[in-house]
């Protein structure tokens, strides 16, 4: 959970640090993620005919592409990536970081760039691979030689029903407890909620249904219609609800 209302660290914003926002192709970011040491390549910045030319060179070891499936990786990512520099234009972009304990403003974006791969053979092959992968359907129909016989074997008694019966047995039939005790239980239940289903009451009180119903008929009333249909509630004289706050128990 983030802390409410954190003060933003503006130290770097005040220094007017400029950063570049670079759009990088997916495969390249994947390769970068694999880099262990941190260094991923070299950035060449130069001038040619008055214009700044920026280009990124991927390190050799990172050009190996991992392939899923059978194909051995004969495909390599290209190494040369010229940057296409754009102006920031109609937006003022700032960069802020979020760490677990603070938010800091890192700087303003001065240039936007797109990292484009140099169009080479290897790049084409890589793209081909990608397209092949993406066109594969997610679901596949396969033909089987033998029919599957391992499901749905007939069973004398299913496992879950065995469990159920066992549970029932150990619980045993519900015994009628003292009337007073039952009443107490009922009243405390009605303290918590106004309307109850008979099943829920049986669960709570662990009494046989008929017995419980008798007691309920004494102290409560059954709603057959209305918003809370088929529920039991206490008779008005026993009720003492306040505006959603505490109830008072009223015993007979």
């Amino acid at each position: 959970m983030s802390v409410k209302g954190q003060d933003v660290d503006l130290t770097r914003a005040k220094q007017n640090t400029g950063v570049w926002l670079v759009k990088v192709p997916k495969y390249l970011s994947q390769q970068w993620a694999k880099a262990s040491g941190g260094e991923v390549g070299k950035l060449k910045i130069g001038k040619a005919q008055g214009k700044t030319v920026v280009s990124f060179n991927l390190n050799e070891e990172l050009t190996v592409v991992e392939c899923s499936g059978e194909k051995v990786s004969s495909v390599r990512t290209p190494r040369e990536h010229p940057f296409a520099i754009q102006a920031v234009g109609g937006q003022t972009l700032a960069v802020f970081t979020e760490s677990p304990d603070k938010v800091a403003l890192e700087g303003m974006v001065v240039h936007r760039a797109e990292c484009r791969p140099a169009v080479t053979e290897s790049y084409m092959k890589l793209k081909k691979l990608q397209i092949e992968e993406s066109t594969k359907p997610l679901r596949l129909s396969q033909r089987l030689d033998k029919a599957v016989t391992t499901n749905y074997k007939p069973v004398s008694n299913h496992s879950h029903s065995v469990e159920y019966e066992k549970k029932k047995k150990e619980e045993g039939k519900r015994a009628r407890a003292d009337k007073q005790k039952v009443l107490e239980m009922l009243f405390s239940a009605f303290e918590k909620h106004q309307y109850y289903n008979i099943k829920d009451l049986v669960d709570i009180t662990k009494q046989p249904v008929i017995y419980l119903k008798e007691i309920l008929r004494e102290i409560g009333v059954y709603n057959s219609k209305g918003p809370h249909k088929s529920t039991w509630e206490l008779k008005p004289e026993y009720r003492h609800y306040e505006e959603g706050q505490e109830d008072e128990e009223k015993l007979e």
């Binding site: 997916k26 970011s29 260094e39 040619a48 960069v95 802020f96 970081t97 092949e132 109830d247």
Partner: protein, 552 residues
């Protein structure tokens, strides 16, 4: 399978063509190489904060900023449904509700803190507020990285986690949807759009105040404003006539209302003027259209009369200011004070009871008119101002308000000689009207002696304590110092001046100008010389000029 490979090969060939077309490679003259690093283990998540360049946001100017997530969309578990207490609640209701939703396939989205908008507050309470909404889909097809240059010259690339578009949040009041609809329907009729918000504010104020009286006052104010405005809209004369007739039937029936009515006229008018100022030209163009809107008689309107009245009255009221506003170049500062002060004024006026004050107030108003009228640095201006201020100081306890009223008088009253007459004549009090007319006639020449003796005496009494606050709104007079308000060329006055600061004879003469004292220049010189002889001040040469001064 075959089909897909065919497609792939076609695409491949297309790529090849593309590659041929874009041939790169030009020899670069000078290149510098930098190492690019992608740090692995930062717990910091980088995000983009995007502002529209039209909002003119410069992060370097921020002194302090706070950011937090906007949690208003979170439905705290169970909060949506009515949280009843025990009464009316069923056992197991929540589970049942959930089961029901599942059955019907109602899927409510999970509340993810990560996706919630940010609220950015810059420079504390008085600063700006921004709301940052997350932009989806930026990491789907490509990844963004932030390249920063580190100390060792290498570049570090951090992946961008999320992109938030920040938009400024309005601090000013806005209309709700219903109100906006209403106003849209009236857009062709309403001339002054500033009054829309003003009305709303007044309405809110009324509702907010429990006190009936207050509410009445507010309502009266509005009505008064409207009535006056509507009437004054068209022609001077007409307005004049209408005003006097209307006002005499005016709603104010309480005692002491007469003066307060007049004052209130000034008050809301000033307020209206301030509001109208910006829309001067707007109203001016449309004044033909809306001219006749405000007339109460024979006005066909499909809206409730009171509502219409209020609005239309205020609007014409503002419109009335148009000719004045254009002519008069009064300071906006004065006017900005005005609103609050005028409201105060209006209220305070009602507390008046003393009928004797009437002539004084008449005078005061006169002075105000005169001062307001001539914004040029005429001393009579200052005189009038000061006089009124002095009066106010005397009669009412807070001098500040006196100053306020003075300023109000300044900027409120029209610049042209004609218009103030309307204001004054606008008072239903015939006595005052008469007095005003009288004043006007004399005003141009000199503060006439009929009232001035008393005025002067009062001024004399009060000049030492004259409201310094009053002088601040008067931008014109470079000469008016807090102490110099004497008209009478007396020894006391001269002494006071000389105690304050050293002055040359020329300065002293300037202080006692013939216009004010009523003496001719020769006489002034003589009298001044006599006074100086009596006082025998010390002399000092400053800037090659002989200055006189006195020590206490």
């Amino acid at each position: 399978m075959k089909l897909s490979t065919q497609i792939v090969e076609e695409l491949y060939s297309l790529f090849e063509v593309y590659a041929e077309m874009t041939s790169l490679g030009s020899s670069s003259s000078s290149t510098t190489e930098y190492i690019v690093r992608v740090p692995k283990n930062t717990s910091k998540k980088y995000n983009i904060m995007a502002f529209n360049s039209g909002d003119k946001v410069t992060c370097s100017t921020w002194t302090q900023a706070r950011m937090e997530r906007d949690m208003s969309n979170r439905r705290i578990y169970g909060e949506e449904e009515t949280t009843e207490g025990v009464a009316g609640s069923e056992f197991g209701k929540k589970q049942r509700e959930e089961a029901r939703r599942k059955k019907y396939g109602i899927v409510s989205k999970e509340f993810k803190v990560e996706d919630q908008p940010w609220i950015l507050k810059v420079n504390g309470k008085a600063g700006r507020r921004f709301k940052g909404l997350k932009k989806g889909g930026i990491t789907e097809n490509a990844s963004f990285y932030i390249f920063t240059q580190s100390a060792d010259g290498a570049f570090e690339a951090f992946p961008v986690h999320a992109w938030y578009n920040f938009t400024p949040q309005a601090k000013h009041r806005t209309l709700t949807a219903e109100e906006a609809e209403e106003e849209w329907g009236r857009r062709n009729k309403v001339v002054n759009h500033f009054s829309i918000m003003l009305q709303r504010r007044l309405r809110e104020k009324e509702r907010g105040e429990e006190d009936e009286e207050e509410g009445e006052k507010g309502g009266k104010k509005k009505k008064k404003k409207g009535a006056r405005g509507g009437d004054l809209r068209i022609h001077d004369l007409e307005e004049d006539l209408e005003m006097s007739s209307d006002d005499s039937e005016g709603s104010m029936g309480e005692d002491g209302e007469d003066k307060s009515k007049a004052k209130k006229d000034k008050g809301p008018k000033g307020k209206g003027k301030k509001k109208k100022k910006g829309s001067d030209f707007e109203g001016f163009e449309d004044s033909d259209d809306g001219d006749f809107e405000g007339i109460e008689v024979d006005y066909m309107s499909d809206e409730s009369s009171s509502d219409e009245e209020e609005l239309e009255k205020t609007k014409p009221n503002k419109g009335e200011e148009v000719p004045k506003g254009i002519d008069e170049m009064s300071d906006s500062e004065e006017e900005s004070e005005e609103e609050n002060k005028n409201e105060d004024d209006a209220k305070e006026e009602e507390e008046e009871e003393d009928g004797k004050k009437t002539p004084v107030q008449v005078e005061k108003k006169k002075k105000k008119d005169s001062s307001g009228e001539s914004d040029s640095s005429e001393d009579s201006d200052i005189e009038g101002e000061e006089a009124s201020a002095l009066f106010m100081v005397k009669k009412r306890t807070p001098p500040k308000r006196g100053g306020g009223r003075g300023s109000a008088g300044n900027s409120r009253t029209g610049s042209r000689p004609g218009t103030p007459s309307i204001d004054n004549a606008a008072t239903s009090n015939t006595l005052r009207a008469a007095a005003n007319k009288l004043e006007q006639g004399k005003r141009q020449i000199v503060v006439s002696s009929s009232e001035t003796p008393s005025a002067k005496r009062l001024k004399m009494e009060l000049s030492p304590q004259s409201a310094s606050g009053k002088n601040t709104p008067q931008p014109v007079s470079g000469k008016s110092t807090p102490s110099s308000s004497d008209v009478q060329l007396t020894e006391d006055a001269v002494r006071r001046y000389l105690i304050r600061k050293p002055m040359t004879t020329k300065d002293l003469l300037k202080k006692f100008q013939t216009k004010r004292t009523g003496l001719s220049s020769e006489q002034t010189v003589n009298v001044l010389a006599q006074i100086l002889k009596r006082l025998n001040p010390e002399r000092k040469n400053i800037n090659d000029k002989m200055h006189f001064y006195l020590t206490e």
